[in-house]
């Protein structure tokens, strides 16, 4: 009887240990596989040259990742510019302004945005948002910004609605719940005594938020923003619908472009010779490194904050 317990105990323990280990194995295997398969392209084009060259030409067998990397970074930065102020406003609203009885419903509603699948964002972006951008918002922006000398190069070209600006907007809606829920959680960690002492000094609510809550929770908010960056970098479907697939670099936000993930989605099954496929693996490898760095940094900051 006792021996059977030992056997079962050992079996259960090693099974569960193996399952936990699978996480590590998958990570390592992904790294190795991506590296091995992108090696021919790394050898052919080098690291710096591949990142800086925007020549993506399957016919001439020349590949450079700059177009896709540029699109990835620009859409991510745009989405952060749109999402960060809104998310912080939402977090302030939930923790400081919202009546207590509505708090839970409102938080749930915002978190619902995170559970809408990305393909739905893509559908909605293509059929609902893009026409609105094309017909109303982008002509309006052009009317304002085209007369201004330097800013005008960001808004040149025919507004099509399928461009960097629309993609950034769709991405920003997707990452709002991630930033706002982490910001909300860290805002709620601020000790009551600190807030009350600010009020006792005669501070208004906004002064208390600005001088007590924001400084106290800056690391938490920062890590939330970095997690959202990691999400935005690798998002595929939502962007694939509204970005087009253009490897050239345009300064204008009203031009179509591509990101690493969109390039993979569009070209991976069509790559018909090994160098092409290897270059796509190279792009995937770069994306892997980028998001791993971002997510690791966020994790590190959160750990330090908890301590």
């Amino acid at each position: 009887m006792k021996e059977r317990f030992y056997v079962k105990e050992g079996l259960f323990k090693s099974l569960s240990f193996a399952s936990a280990l699978i996480i590590v194995l998958i990570c390592i295997a992904m790294f190795v596989v991506l590296f091995v398969f992108s090696y021919p392209a790394i050898k052919q084009f080098g690291v710096v040259h591949f990142i800086l060259s925007d020549a993506w030409n399957p016919v001439r067998k020349v590949f450079g990742g700059a177009g896709a990397i540029y699109g990835t970074i620009v859409t991510t930065v745009l989405s952060l510019i749109f999402a960060v102020p809104v998310s912080l406003g939402i977090a302030v609203f939930i923790t400081q302004i919202c009546p207590h009885s509505l708090k839970r419903y409102f938080s749930n509603a915002i978190e619902l945005l995170a559970s809408i699948p990305s393909i739905i964002y893509g559908m909605w972006g293509l059929f609902t948002l893009a026409p609105l951008m094309r017909n109303y918002i982008e002509p309006f922006l052009q009317k304002i910004f085209l007369p201004i000398p330097v800013v005008r190069c960001l808004f040149e070209g025919t507004p099509l609605g399928i461009d960097l600006l629309t993609s950034g907007l769709v991405l920003s809606i997707m990452i709002i719940p991630f930033i706002s829920s982490i910001a909300r959680d860290t805002f709620e960690l601020v000790p009551k005594e600190l807030k009350e002492s600010a009020y006792a000094m005669g501070a208004t609510k906004w002064e208390m938020i600005k001088d007590v809550i924001f400084p106290y929770s800056k690391i938490g908010v920062l890590s939330g923003i970095i997690i959202a960056t990691g999400r935005a970098l690798g998002e595929t479907m939502a962007v694939a619908f509204v970005l087009g697939n253009d490897h050239n670099i345009h300064l204008s936000l009203l031009k179509s472009s591509t990101t690493i993930s969109v390039t993979l989605a569009n070209e991976f099954t069509e790559a018909d010779f090994s160098l092409y496929l290897s270059s796509l693996f190279y792009l995937a490898f770069i994306l892997f490194i980028m998001s791993f760095t971002a997510l690791g940094l966020a994790k590190f900051l959160l750990k330090r904050m908890k301590r």
Partner: protein, 281 residues
Amino acid sequence: MNLVKKRKIKNAIALSASVFAAIVGLFWLVFILSSVLIKGASSINLSLFLNDPVPPGIPGGGLRCAFVGQAIITLIATLVGVPIGVLGGTFLAEYGRYKKYSGIISSLADMMTSFPSIVVGVFVYTVMVRPMGHFNGYAGAVALAIIMIPIIVRTTEETLKLIPWELREAAFALGAPYYRVIKDIVFRGAATGLFTGILLSVARVAVETAPLLFTSFNNSFLTLNPNQPMPSLTVTIYQYAMGPYEAWHRLAWGASFVIVLFVLVMSVFGRWIISKRYKNG
């Protein structure tokens, strides 16, 4: 007096900006849901569920094969992912609770939940589709399982850590081995939480698109054999929405309606279970 007024005005402006941000957030939610539900509802009919796709131009096609394929892929992914995820999470919360390396594994799992899902698709393509020589449903299911495992590991770990340590000690004192304690005390106490966590994770992964693009691919015929390319709702939506035909767009909207409804029902149901349990406890 003037300064006080200035500060009060600043306060009012900042707070109304925050309320405005909240309205913007709600506005996007309502805008997206309503446009999908309104456009989708008009495309819902019986033939969407009962018929297979027909060539463009012929009326009366449906997406039966995609519904079936999606169900099969999700089922296999769940069968692979849930046991591994639950066991892994159990290890992190029980045997390895105070070990340093389980902290690292837990962080790694947390990072993987935000990982680009298309890279997982590329990875599974290399290790499964290439050696097997053709796109197949198993590869799609494995890709979904790889995304599912870290999510379930994390929810399991968090749920099990909520069970008070004293309960386990009481069982140890009766002479129970650890695996019996986990099975009869910890899992039983955490059953509702575990179930909800798993349900929400499966629902979240079931509607992924990117990892299926290069693994299960697509197919416009009904197939029950996961060793063949398998259609899924999400990939079909991608293909149909990007296509040129009005009838395809209508089918894509119908499928989107079903997916959004599924996600809404799942998350409301999950929250309902949690809140009910919260009240009883």
